[in-house]
Symmetry: C2
């Protein structure tokens, strides 16, 4: 098997297996019926934001591009499908030469989104587009959920750095994507070496309680750490008694000690006490890092506390209550025949049972008020009004199967900060509410 760089810390032969069985049976049936080549438009969007959230964050687009580029059915995969009789020989033959040759447009990664925003649009033949559904949704649903939580935490933290340290609370590879999404949302660094390796995100970390417990006394542990990592290290001070630990820490490392970390207890109270003690000991530049079960609310509640950095784990990698975005991938238009110039017909599910959607290939623009602040997400299927033509949100990501919009992660991160700053101030309220701007269909 050939290998491909897939946005993972590992070499992955193909993304084609990250696919639901029914995508393949649909291809088989469409091939047999002569409809597989009908020109089609699929769109990714979400019907609603998670309850109470004011905005969503597009994340994972860069990983989607890698996945599309590497979506191939090699011999091992084809043999597996043949053994399972998942599809017939004609379909296996078609899959063997699969390469996405269509176009993809989308919101640039880091941009914010709202209910109905056409975050990604995939155009090509029905068969080549439908196959990409599962892996595109996996990536966008996961990464966007994490980035949205990260963005709220970053708002709450203000200028204070945020460390992503949730690897142990989620799947080992989801953790790497979570670090990436957290960085997009505004985090500063990560504990996860794989995320550092793959995405060049700064990694940090010094010691855990186990290290202190390994030694006969806390002081010996501190001495061992400072001896090898230097006085600029971060000492963990809540294994036994915090006050005694802070005293020992400054005695061992001197007043130039880099930081202390508090990982339990009433962080507001303890941070104030530790700050006062550090100052009394002359360690006025020693920083305080807190790391115990934080979420955006806890971070906000510590705004007035003498805290210098936050480490966030569980709540970050689980999307702070919303571990997945509810994005869907829907056929919104398709040609009535396989002719290349057959006109597109808008289509949509009509059943009365909910889950309806709006047919037709959509554009999207963000309308600003007189002060340059976003006031509506405008979505349409026809002509773009003159006044919105320079506010269009979608950019071309893939052209004729070739990725045309790769970008460094720092560009994405900056874009998100700018997009969030362009929303009404109430966007960053943590309290539950409606989407901060309405979605208008024209």
């Amino acid at each position: 098997m050939g290998v491909a760089d897939l946005g993972l810390p590992v070499d992955v032969p193909s993304t084609a297996l990250f696919t639901d069985h029914y995508e393949l049976t649909m291809v088989q049936a469409a091939l047999a019926a002569g409809t597989a080549e009908r020109r089609s438009v699929f769109e990714v969007f979400t019907r609603r934001l998670p309850e109470g959230r004011r905005y969503g964050v597009v994340a994972g687009t860069g990983r989607v591009l890698d996945a599309v580029e590497n979506f191939r059915f090699d011999a091992d995969v084809l043999n597996f499908l043949r053994e399972r009789a998942a599809v017939d020989e004609a379909t296996l033959e078609w899959l063997a030469s699969y390469r996405f040759s269509g176009d993809i447009w989308g919101y640039p990664e880091g941009e914010v989104y709202f209910p109905g925003s056409p975050i990604l649009r995939v155009e090509g033949s029905f068969a080549e587009c439908v196959l990409l559904e599962t892996v595109i949704l996996s990536i966008l649903n996961h990464d966007s959920a994490i980035a949205a939580a990260a963005s709220r935490m970053a708002s709450a933290a203000g200028d204070r750095p945020l460390i992503e340290m949730g690897a142990r609370r989620t799947h080992e590879l989801a953790a790497v994507a979570a670090s990436r999404a957290a960085y997009v949302g505004g985090f500063t660094s990560t504990s996860d070496l794989a995320a550092g390796f793959r995405y060049n995100i700064p990694t940090v970390g010094t010691s855990a309680h186990a290290f202190t417990l390994l030694f006969d006394t806390e002081r010996e542990a501190f001495r061992a750490q400072v001896n090898t990592l230097g006085g600029g290290t971060t000492l963990l001070v809540d294994t036994y008694d915090v006050t005694e630990a802070v005293r020992a820490a400054v005695e061992v490392a001197g007043p130039e000690l880099g930081a202390v970390r508090i990982d339990s207890g009433d962080l507001l109270l303890v941070a104030h006490r530790v700050r006062q003690q550090l100052d009394e000991l002359g360690a006025t530049n020693t920083r305080i890092t807190v790391t115990s079960d934080l979420d955006e609310y806890a971070i906000a509640s510590l705004r007035a506390a003498p805290v210098d950095a936050y480490g966030v784990g569980t709540q970050l990698v689980t999307g702070s209550g919303h571990p997945t975005a509810s994005m869907v991938y829907k056929l919104v238009a398709r040609a009535g025949s396989a002719d290349a110039d057959a006109p597109l017909v808008p289509v949509a599910k009509k059943s009365s049972g909910g889950k309806t959607s709006v047919g037709g290939r959509k554009w999207a623009a963000r309308r600003l008020d007189d002060h340059g602040v976003a006031e509506a997400e405008v979505i349409g299927t026809g002509r773009v009004p003159q006044e919105l033509q320079d506010r269009l949100l979608q950019v071309q990501l893939v052209k004729g199967g070739e990725v045309v919009a790769r970008e460094p992660l720092d560009v994405v991160r900056d874009r998100h900060a700018a997009a969030r700053a362009g929303l009404p101030l109430s966007a960053t309220q943590l309290s539950r509410g409606e989407a901060v701007i309405p979605t208008e269909y024209v």
Copy 2:
């Protein structure tokens, strides 16, 4: 880089990068201080079950064994650590020859657990054991969370098959592990081809709304599907009008139509109507599959409905409200020197701020009542009482660095079914409550 089979549908060179930065700095400091070789015992346990849950499910153990076996620092990883100055040269040298050489004991995969259960115990030198913390917790926290949700859903579904179809709602590789954990918990099949490829779990699927919308009429779509997939296929009947769709489905496929799928609306009501209509059309053997936003409560509420199979996505892969187990990996005992025969000293965090734990290497046994039903999880650090010696839960998984307890996934799945059946009946109540048996420390 060499490649290794890592419980993924992909070849992964090493699991060593799935590690928090601080594990490495702790190794450096312990090496420098001469404490790295102290014999140590780490235990994985959880302080509590997710709120309201009656029991937990151990899942991921097989993946942990793969991860431990493949935990190596190859040249690429070492170069990365050197460039980042993550650790010093002495530590890099030590890492280069790293191979876990200790012992691991644990609850066999599929077993149930309770607060405090010592699910996994890792013994060896401090340095070799501490490094494994992150990847072990990533795997167990993710997989056990999914398996616990799956187990509740399987209880609620009774004999009806459950299809895992959540790949699109979670990270593309977390999805594969989620399929595996769901299978352990009692699911029957998956939509995820990667899970079929890697774990030999049966894969299923036929068509989505997009397929129906591709055709000019629903009837044409049904005909196309039946022509190539046969009359035993499952037709999706809620794209337009369900009643018309069911009529068309039976006309096209005949009364031997395999199944219909309903993916929206009031499933209880619609299932009853569709069953009646199918019976009237003579399609008395045609099954009904439902697949819309199900969780264990929705499944239970459909117990009296004429439903033949459930497809579950979002709520399964997000752990039905609890996307991660809260397992921790704690040093509970270590030698006072690097001598091979130095006695172990129990250790534990003592800070008043919470997160305390019980020191010492623990055994665990499940005490049964006179009817053979579990009545307590008994955990101790000393001698095992005579009457519990044949109820001990931990088994050896790794001996001197060698995996000694690989087993097929079906064995794990059967074990879980038996373990759940051995709990008091109230274990499978869906209502919130306490752990179904108490944890006793002796």
